[in-house]
């Protein structure tokens, strides 16, 4: 066994006990034959899996395998892109995400998102950033906003660092703090699902560790779907892993989905094993 293999296995073994626990968990989101196409060119094809509640689902795969594209289909962020078409069924609980029964604004307040680079609103104070989602949805009462602000910042493990300077601008924070601020901003509207698009790729290792720790804490309150380039990260933070790969026509397809421990230790597909062991990607 090479060194690399044993490292990966060491990490994933620690997860075994935890990741088995979601097997009977209710389903937060379900994807059936989900495909995304841009101007007729398929970018993601026929994805099928369930996102278990209060667990972390990681989307892994090499560049171009459609991880981010798939993630953005879940909160209808492709609606903004001209020529983007999402087909198949995406469900949030019993609600058909693309069925027209739920307004996108409501949907997006129930499925929050954290982006690759921290993107606090530059013109707003820390406080205004955190409560912005509530304000956009019409909440005006100061006591509610104050409570939500403290709760969200506490949940994002940044309250103690910023509680004395809530009036300062987001840009006065470090990159890691900014990302936690953005997580707090997403949590403030109390979403059921939180989508994270490579949330640590722009951060240093220490900030990355703190975000990963945070993910472990907040998954008790919110279901998480995280895209990551970093396989160790997927192994560390996730309960379920979906492995995507680019097919011959350059569309991303799902190769294997399963408990993280299984994907990292005993995958069914040899391509998964090759990717996990760093043979490509």
């Amino acid at each position: 066994m090479s060194n690399q293999e044993s490292t990966v296995n060491d990490i994933s073994m620690a997860q075994v006990a935890e990741s088995a626990s979601f097997a009977n968990a209710p389903v937060a989101m379900s994807l059936r034959n989900v495909s995304v196409a841009f101007n007729g060119r398929t970018a993601v094809r026929d994805v099928n899996f369930d996102v278990p509640q209060n667990a972390v689902t990681a989307l892994i795969g090499p560049s171009g395998s459609g991880k981010t594209t798939l993630l953005r289909a879940l909160n209808r962020l492709h609606d903004l892109t001209k020529g983007a078409v999402v087909t198949g069924d995406v469900k949030l609980g019993d609600i058909d995400v693309y069925g027209g029964t739920i307004p996108t604004t409501v949907l997006r307040s129930r499925i929050g998102m954290v982006f690759q680079r921290p993107n606090p609103f530059p013109t707003m104070s820390l406080y205004d950033n955190v409560v912005s989602g509530l304000r956009f949805n019409g909440v005006k009462k100061k006591s509610i906003l104050d409570d939500a602000c403290e709760q969200a910042l506490t949940a994002a493990a940044i309250w103690d660092e910023v509680k004395d300077r809530l009036k300062a601008h987001g840009s006065t924070l470090s990159g890691g703090q900014q990302q936690r601020l953005c997580i707090a901003r997403a949590l403030a509207v109390e979403p059921e699902v939180l989508l994270m698009d490579e949330p640590t790729s722009a951060l240093d290792p220490i900030s990355t560790a703190s975000i990963e720790e945070l993910i472990g804490q907040i998954k008790n309150h919110v279901t998480i779907v995280i895209v990551t380039h970093n396989m160790q990260q997927a192994a560390r933070v996730s309960d379920q892993t979906a492995f995507l790969l680019m097919a011959d026509d350059r569309a991303g397809v799902q190769i294997e989905v399963g408990p993280t421990s299984k994907i990292f230790n005993d995958p069914d597909d040899s391509r998964t094993l090759d990717y996990i062991r760093g043979r490509f990607g």
Binding site: L80, M113, F115, N119, P122, T123
Partner: protein
Amino acid sequence: MTTLPLDNSHHIREHLRERASATVKRRQFVSRLMIALCWVAIALAALPLGDVIINLFIHGWASVSSWAFYSQLPAQPTLFSPDAVGGVSNAIVGSGVILGYALLGALPIGIGIGVYNAESDSRFAIVLRLVVATMVGAPSILMGLFAFGLVVVQFGFGFCILAGAFAIGTMMLPVLAASTEIAVRNVPATLREAGLALGAKKSTTSLRIVLPAAITGIVSGAILAISRAIGETAPVLLVIGGSQAFTWKAGDFGQALPLMIYQDASSSYPAQRAQAWGIALFIVIVVFVLSLTARIWANSKQKERR
């Protein structure tokens, strides 16, 4: 098939080293030459500008530095009192009022068009962009004629300050729309996405996230529009009537600074021509102070965000 002369690569290396010193010398020479040319270009641009400013101060400073310039109404000099030109208080107020009304109308509409053009891909937006681009380059007298035809004649307001404001406003509109569009386009898409991902409507995102993030660019555009408008003679010449009395009422005959320059400059009295210089200097100072203030404000705003 030829084999690569890998064993000869030393020769290339030696050759390169020999050439190196010659190359460096040539590059240094070209570099110095280019820098010298840059200075020549700067001088060519700066000399006439410096000449204008120096002349403005030489001929206009006496007027600008006298209190009467700001406090008195214009007077008609006579042969017996050739220096009694009075001041331009009515023109300063007139220009201020015209700009104020013009901004009142042009700011919201111009910014609205700019935001729409930046955020929409509709066919209407494409046409609107073309219209804005064309209007930016349109000669200002066209706006004067437009205001004359519409406000003075069609609506029957007659010559008045309001008509001047209308002309100046239509002149500022495309500048505001174009600069707003650029400023809004420069706001990173990820901020827009962050707003939408929080459940904000598209319009809410535009108004409360994108627009504030673009504000420094929009203000710069507004300052540019004001700077252009404050010295604009042709449109006001046609429509405000050129009163010598003091007024700020929208329906009255009005007076404006550039119009005063136009009248004074053709006078046979040296004191009136000096007053024209003074007004020109005054406009340059106002525009300079405005631009400087805007720049300082924008810098501090930028620093605040970093």
